[in-house]
């Protein structure tokens, strides 16, 4: 029997005393404190993981700090992006837990915010307020321009990703319901039972046949299940777009969640990015079901709101970091932008041609098309116009309804 891994024998390293001793019960307390610290730093750790971590430490022993770190990492981390946080936290925590807590207090503004009084959402406040006479009915030419629909002047001055006012919320909800964006579907490779289709559903046919003494009365078929095409959305959040970006994000969030096809509601595989001077991945925000929560989370993520536009550079970081989003030339890319780009047009053209090669369609949704006689003459706009498969208007409700038809027509081409 090997006794070298026995933590009880031999001099104990200094840091083990921080971890505590399993036999005196300090060990598990420290481990769960470590788990809590990780959770506050945004690493998803739950109680069952902590219990598993305890088991893991009993397996590897606590004689080597490196092994303990590796073991805890294998158990507590489950995403690539959490590894750095974990390692820093591990080093800090087992050198000095107090220091780690101080670090954490500075690092995570979320903790401070939660301590404050809960803020009610504008639409909750609006719902509780007495009704005012003469509420304008939303009509089909309602502008999707935040500056024009909003009555709340204070909010306009903030010019930030804010929560929706009650009016805007109702508008977005109604839009999402009324304007079905019929995102195209293709016949997927998974199958389901049906009456048409080239393949026989032998299982079902035989089960039916066995009930009739082995006679095949009906041939059940396998038909291909419809599968929505994946969607990649790039939303411009630069200064010139700030009036549209919020409402359009909210609209896209609500309307591209599901697609109805063949009597089924299918979830859409969508990836959403915001771009201005830098590219921001909004996947985490878009996974939230509530549109308000999505906007709030997106606001926290986006650091370059109402700044400049460098679409070319942003596409470079898309290619470098997120090219896994574009699978097998199936993706439909929606670029929501006014095309007022300050980067080099050559770079933009090169990156756009890469994007085109990797996707099925690149559609440019341009709110500036509201102005009569608009010509995409700005440098970036000219490139976008040349490279995109189509330029579509998105500034009001009736245009959005047309958008649905336009996408369908484009896909048939």
């Amino acid at each position: 029997m090997t006794s070298t891994s026995d933590p009880a024998s031999g001099p104990r390293p200094h840091w083990v005393s921080q971890l505590g001793d399993a036999r005196r019960g300090k060990f598990s307390g420290n481990l769960s404190a470590f788990g809590r610290a990780l959770r506050r730093a945004g690493v998803p750790v739950d109680a069952s993981r902590i219990a598993l971590a305890q088991e893991a430490l009993q397996c590897v022993g606590v004689a080597h700090k490196q092994d303990v770190g590796a073991a805890l990492e294998a158990v507590l981390v489950s995403r690539e992006q959490d590894r750095i946080v974990f390692r820093e936290m591990f080093d800090a925590f087992f050198r000095d837990p107090e220091l780690a807590h101080q670090l954490l207090a500075r690092m995570v503004p979320r903790a401070a915010r939660e301590a404050g009084p809960p803020r009610t959402r504008p639409r909750v406040r609006a719902a509780l307020a007495p009704p005012t006479a003469g509420q304008p009915r939303a009509e089909s030419d309602v502008e999707l321009d935040a500056a024009m629909t909003a009555s709340d002047l204070a909010r306009l001055k903030e010019a930030d990703f804010n929560r929706l006012t009650a009016n805007e919320y109702a508008l977005v909800q109604r839009l999402a319901q009324d304007v079905a964006l019929p995102l195209p579907t293709v016949d997927g490779r998974r199958t389901c039972a049906g009456w048409r289709g080239p393949r026989v559903h032998w299982g079902r046919t035989l089960r039916a046949a066995a009930r009739h003494g082995g006679d095949v009365m009906i041939l059940h078929r396998l038909q291909r299940r419809p599968q929505p095409l994946p969607l990649l959305v790039l939303v411009d959040v630069s200064g010139s777009m700030e009036r549209y970006a919020r409402t359009l994000l909210a609209f896209l969030h609500a309307s591209t969640r599901h697609v109805r096809a063949g009597g089924q509601t299918l979830p859409v595989n969508r990836e959403v990015f915001a771009f201005g001077t830098e590219l921001t991945y909004l996947g985490a925000a878009f996974r939230l079901a509530d549109t308000d929560a999505m906007l709030l989370a997106a606001g926290d993520l986006i650091h370059d709101f109402a700044g400049g536009t460098r679409l070319g550079d942003c596409l470079v970081s898309l290619r470098r970091q997120y090219s896994r989003c574009l699978v097998g030339r199936r993706t439909i890319v929606l670029i929501v932008s006014d095309g007022l780009d300050t980067g080099e047009p050559e770079d933009l053209a090169r990156e756009l041609s890469w994007l085109k090669r990797r996707s099925r369609r690149v559609l440019w949704l341009n709110p500036l098309l509201r102005f009569d006689g608009y010509e995409p003459s700005a440098r970036g706009a000219a490139v976008l116009h040349r490279m995109a498969d189509a330029m579509l208007a998105v500034h009001n409700v009736s245009r959005l309804q047309e958008l649905a038809g336009a996408i369908a027509a484009l896909m048939k081409r």
């Binding site: 029997m1 090997t2 006794s3 891994s5 026995d6 933590p7 009880a8 036999r23 998803p44 739950d46 069952s48 993981r49 598993l52 088991e55 893991a56 009993q58 397996c59 590897v60 022993g61 490196q66 092994d67 590796a70 073991a71 990492e73 294998a74 158990v75 981390v77 489950s78 995403r79 690539e80 590894r83 997927g188 490779r189 998974r190 199958t191 032998w202 299982g203 035989l206 046949a209 066995a210 009930r211 009739h212 003494g213 082995g214 979830p267 595989n269 996947g283 290619r319 470098r320 090219s323 896994r324 699978v327």
Partner: protein
Amino acid sequence: MASAGASAAPAGLPPGLDSIDALMTALEARAYFADRRLATAVFLALRLGRPLLLEGEPGVGKTELAKALAGVLGRDLLRLQCFDGLEQREALYEWNYAAQLLHLRAADGRMPAGDLEQEVYQPRFLVRRPLLQALQAPAPGAVLLIDEVDRADEPFEAFLLEYLGEYQVSIPELGTVRATVAPVTLLTSNRTRELNDAVKRRCLYHWLDYPDRERELAIVRALVPQAPEALARQVAAFVQQLRTAPYDAHFQRAPGIAETVEWARALVALDTLVLDPEIVVDTAGILFKQRDDVAALDPALVSGALRSAEQAVA
């Protein structure tokens, strides 16, 4: 004895694999050079009986690990390659309908319908796919590799969740099949999409990085023994440079370990003794598989990287 922690290996772990070091040595004997972090994760997966989810860039040795581990444990490797549209009948089991139909015809009229139904649902009409094979593998069990699980869709993940939790499946016509020996399960993902949190919670997780220079050199030495030592060193150092700044910015995808090994083999086949920019450019198609990347590897860049590689070695 008991106070020293769990010292007895649990059932299914062969003797001699009771520490992380032993596992590392055993893997090395199979020409798999794991770093200590990875070895710890694998060791824990074995001891705790949890599946291990491996993520990392393509070509860092995720699949190879499963092969090496199967060799070390003396278990069969069962591999389920996931793809878009993978269904239960390709992953788990399917009835051999043609044989059943023939049997129905032959037995026609000789027995009542109820018996007939039982007659066609016998184990011999069952076509076993990898997930079922893994449950029914005789002792010492199997190593189950569920490769590129991100390519399958979410309903399959949900099914997998149940499978990985219980290691049992129920076949309506036959009853429940329970694992005799729970398989050692490895899942790999290339992160074309994020996996479901529930699946991740069930698994231990390890992100496989590219190896450091020493480890890559060891791999080249082990897999291309005919390469001269000086060349092997140069190859490892050069590829290492391509993966780090400032050179990595020129490429869409850095070469993986598989590419390094292939390249070393190619250089040996060309009787190369020392790397020079010309031979690197000529063989660029082995390191890079995209036209833009091959084009980016011009002589100026190569000689720069070769110089930095030499400095790094020195």
